[in-house]
Amino acid sequence: MTSLLEVENLRVDFPTEDGVITAVRGVSYTLERGEALGIVGESGSGKSVTSLAILGLLPRTARVSGSVRFEGSELLGRSDNELSSYRGRHIAMIFQDPLASLNPVYTIGDQIIEAVLAHRDVGKDAARRRALELLDIVGIPHAAQRMHNYPHEMSGGMKQRVVIAIAMANDPDVIIADEPTTALDVTVQAQVLEALEAAREATGAALVLITHDLGVIAGHADRLCVMYAGRLVEQGTVEEVFYTPRMPYTLGLLGSLPRIDARTHERLTPIVGAPPSLLDLPSGCPFRPRCPLAQPICAAEEPALFGVGKGHSAACHFHEKLINAAAREIFQ
């Protein structure tokens, strides 16, 4: 059986004045129907570019290669027109900044109705009813009045909920949410994540949740991909990756996280250095300069994703050394 979404060996190059930047270097993953997949990584790890490439939303200068198949049919290389019939209808996207994704000169009601009518041949009244229903699902009170509001009359959390309503307007099969709560306060983040869960429940859509917040992933994803310097360095179920990480970067990331459930004043275990520049990647494993386990082989050869468990893989030559290891022992 084919998966809902299959990304295979995806590579994205951006030619720049300083040279070619390879933002994504061979990313492969699959998404099953109804599943929630988290993608985590720091700034510049390529997590957003990967999903923009799937929908053909990258600037023209970008060179994309590899394969992206939705229900078995190839999306890469299609014309913008052809992709338009997928966008919103089969694959919907939620961006970080709701202000940038909403049009400031139309009421939010008009914008939701527009989204409904884009892929459906229904009357205006039916579209309006659907819009009200959508606003209700994402938890916007007094939906009928709110329909007449312009984006600037709403708070950030409200706007993001409107964006979620637009994303689910056509019952998509996949919702890609790119840092949907990063710009929001935590109590608002909780509201928006609840709206996102409600949207998934109503549409049964699969979710690709891109974020740098491991806490959000822990609560909302089934499986997890960790990205570093344009590649997947670990993937598996959230339980496996959180409790038994097998790539030093993942272990380091978990160890360096201030946690609300930790003891007070517990010392954190930082990862030394900073992520590499994509213009000047180190040879071999890109995490090598920051890795306490690095050996000569790490400079010679970039590790592939080794299978380390059922559906769990890690890109490290020494993934066996990480069995039952604590971040504190490895990184200090």
């Binding site: 109590t187 360096s256 946690r259």
Partner: protein
Amino acid sequence: MTTVLEVRGLVKHFPVRSRGVIKRRVGDVHAVCGVSFDLAEQETLGLVGESGCGKTTTARLLLNLIPATAGSVHYGGRDLLKLSRSQMRPLRRDLQIVFQDPFASLDPRMTVAELIAEPLRIHSLFETKKVRELMRQVGLNPEHANRFPHEFSGGQRQRIGIARALALRPKVLLLDEPVSALDVSIRAGVINLLADLQESLGLSYIFVSHDLSVIRHVADRVAVMYLGKIVELAPTDALFNRAAHPYTQALISAIPVPDPHKERERRRIILAGDVPSPVDPPSGCRFRTRCPKFATLTAQEKQRCVNDVPALQDRGQGHPSACHYAEAVRML
């Protein structure tokens, strides 16, 4: 423990002016409304709250960077808010600030050495040796003294900001969201650095942050702010084990924990609606419009929340909170 900073009844109103030629004053933004606290020697006081709660304004008032509407800040037996700019200048050596955005707070045309030397020159204390020493102290390589800020990563730039603040050997350091702009793997290093510096230099910190998980790692005591007021003030452990104010409880419950099992079992308190406008804050308790507890009260009990402003006092939870119906809840 000796008190370093004594803050009493701090108030800041920003005027809202009408449009047009004659800019009439049409109202006030009540940014900070009667904030009082003490800061002890070598203590870290966390100031936590969401956007618009007045935490950054409070921090700037403490340093007399903006004029206060009312209140006092006593340092070394003097009220800082009554001092002129020239009287304030020698005291600025003792009270320094580190800003949130290390990309905006450093002059891009100055080298690191010049940046760190700047405060020393202003106070006629410059020695080349001191700059090198400061760089070493914050974990930067003194050989990089002639580089420009853009040649450094975010974490290193924040270290430059910290070195500048430390240059004059201050007693109190105001940290305004010092790690919010940094990637996770880099954040831990800066948090550890701040802890080490506090211990070796005997500094007092006021740590402003929206992130309670960072606060848990650094703070001895925490003041939670909502709409310009402190709603709860407690030693860090007490805050998490006996949160008394409904807002604190909601805030703690909204913070995701990077642990799939724990995260999925947690009870979330989802707040209704948005933060009211600080131009026209609600009467009585400012949190009542969103308070989950308020919703469960009888009409008679509600009257008290509508009419009486709850004072910040101990209501049997062992630490002060500003809720008429405070009740301690263990949040973790």
